[in-house]
């Protein structure tokens, strides 16, 4: 198990290069919270159940992402500011495959 490097652009447009562990069963939403890149209470509101879209992000890199579940797909169908590269951060697990991931957080809504 190794840490991976990812780039996260926060809601103010600032890009953070951070190191995420792959052995803590963390997802991208939790990484954002652990580094406090978005204000507490504005991200991960449902706790990571793909039920609120507060962790929506735009994926900029071409990492092969985990397949979208029906729950995530349905949530994104109702969320705002959705683009073709939108994903829910809580559904992206920190694995070796995510090394080099670049994402931008969607606006708060």
């Amino acid at each position: 198990m190794q840490d991976i490097n990812i780039k996260i652009t926060d809601r103010n447009g600032v890009t953070h290069e951070i190191v995420a562990p792959t052995d803590m069963a963390m997802n991208l939403m939790e990484v954002v919270r652990s580094y406090e890149l978005a204000e507490e209470g504005t991200i991960g509101i449902c706790g990571g159940m793909a039920m609120c879209a507060s962790c929506q992000c735009y994926v900029k890199s071409d990492n092969e992402l985990p397949e979208m579940s029906d729950d995530e797909d349905a949530m994104l169908a109702e969320a705002f500011n959705v683009e073709d590269n939108s994903r829910l951060g809580c559904q992206i697990q920190m694995t070796q495959e995510m090394d080099g991931l670049e994402v931008e957080l969607a606006p708060e809504s």
Binding site: E39, E40, G41, T42, I45, C46, M49, M51, C52, S54, A74, A77, E78, F80, N81, V82, S109
Partner: protein, 351 residues
């Protein structure tokens, strides 16, 4: 005016358990919640999801946890003001509080316990530039009275259960129902999806997918909406009402303006003692509070509620002597005349 000892804002698990702990101290509780039913997130967001960290329950569904908590509070006859949001708080000269809801219901209490979780659930508003100008002028985010739409033209947007269910219901009430969704697929109970299909085939619901409402048309009230199908030019759908149904999201809301110390969208409390806020007599418990090391867990909310009630008792009865009693020893005396106690052993010789 509703009067009570402890006014609890938020009827989620922490708020409900407060009723029980207060009841053991013979304090009466009343709960306010913006949602129409008790249970908070557990019943609104994830009733069918399991929770694994409630002590003594290896697994329990959030909805079942709510039911059990309500069952446990019944003996203490809590009052409920549901479907209303706590709006204004006024501290009285005698140290008590009057809390008024958005519908004007007034509550007088000695103690206020904010157990508001992430805040009150408000409808999620779509990002349409001029939508705010038409609120209550043809744009409604919540359907309060279906009869209001009798013989009117209605456009509903959204793809979840509430959009589907209301489209079905209003197809019998309104003169025209149009359902607009960004996708061709709908997320909802299979029955609802099939029913909408059937009503569409009968011509009772007009379905426009995949499409989005981009603008609202009208001057002093809604007369139509501009609809854009992916990759096509926008067109106008004439309508009297536009009802966007995109679910609910929690907002701290008016509580943020009560003069309480707020940090990270949560209320700061004294966790060394009793979870009281910077305003004496107002406590904050459960997910709504913050302190060093805070964890937003239901089980932590239960603990905070228990300590908070002890402090509330001392505040209401500063001179009364009291020690905590175990329910196994003292039993539980309800406000409804019931009494639960452990069976007494008998002393009898055996011949």
């Amino acid at each position: 005016m509703i009067t009570t000892d402890i006014l609890i804002i938020g009827a989620g698990p922490t708020g409900l358990f407060t009723v029980f702990e207060a009841g053991l101290l013979k304090l009466k509780c009343h709960l306010i919640d913006a949602l129409p039913q008790p249970g908070g997130q557990c019943s609104e967001i994830y009733p069918k999801k399991p929770i694994y960290d409630i002590p003594a329950y290896p697994e329990i569904l959030a909805g079942d946890l709510t039911h059990k908590l309500i069952e446990q509070t019944k003996q203490f006859k809590p009052g409920f003001t549901l479907g209303e949001r706590a709006e204004i708080i006024d501290k009285q000269e005698d140290g008590t509080f009057i809390v008024t809801t958005n519908k004007g219901t007034k509550h007088h209490a000695k103690i206020v316990a904010i157990a508001g979780g992430l805040g009150s659930f408000e409808p999620r508003k779509p990002l349409i530039p001029n939508i705010a100008d038409f609120e209550d002028k043809g744009v409604e985010y919540i359907i309060k009275e279906p009869e209001f739409y009798r013989d009117k033209r209605v456009v509903i947007s959204g793809g979840g259960d509430s959009a589907l269910d209301w489209a079905i219901f209003l197809s019998d009430v309104a003169s025209e129902v149009t359902l607009i969704h960004r996708r061709n697929e709908f997320r909802g109970a299979l029955d609802s999806v099939e029913k909408v299909q059937e009503l569409k085939d009968l011509g009772k619901i007009r379905l426009i997918t995949p499409a989005e409402v981009k603008a609202i048309i009208g001057t002093d009230k809604v007369i139509g909406v501009a609809v854009e199908k992916k990759g096509e030019d926008a067109f106008v759908v004439d309508t009297d009402h536009f009802i966007p149904l995109f679910g609910l999201s929690p907002k701290l809301g008016p509580i943020a303006n009560w003069g309480l110390e707020i940090e990270k969208n949560a209320i700061k409390v004294n966790n060394a003692l009793d979870y009281q806020t910077n305003i004496p007599g107002i406590y904050a418990i459960g997910d709504v509070n913050t302190y060093p090391g805070k964890l937003k867990l239901i089980l932590c909310g239960f603990h905070e509620a228990t300590l908070m009630c002890q402090s509330a008792y001392k505040r209401i009865f500063p001179d009364k002597k009291y020690v905590m009693k175990y329910t196994t020893v003292g039993g539980v005396e309800g406000f409804d005349g019931t009494k639960k106690e452990s069976p007494k052993a008998v002393v009898k010789a055996i011949n």
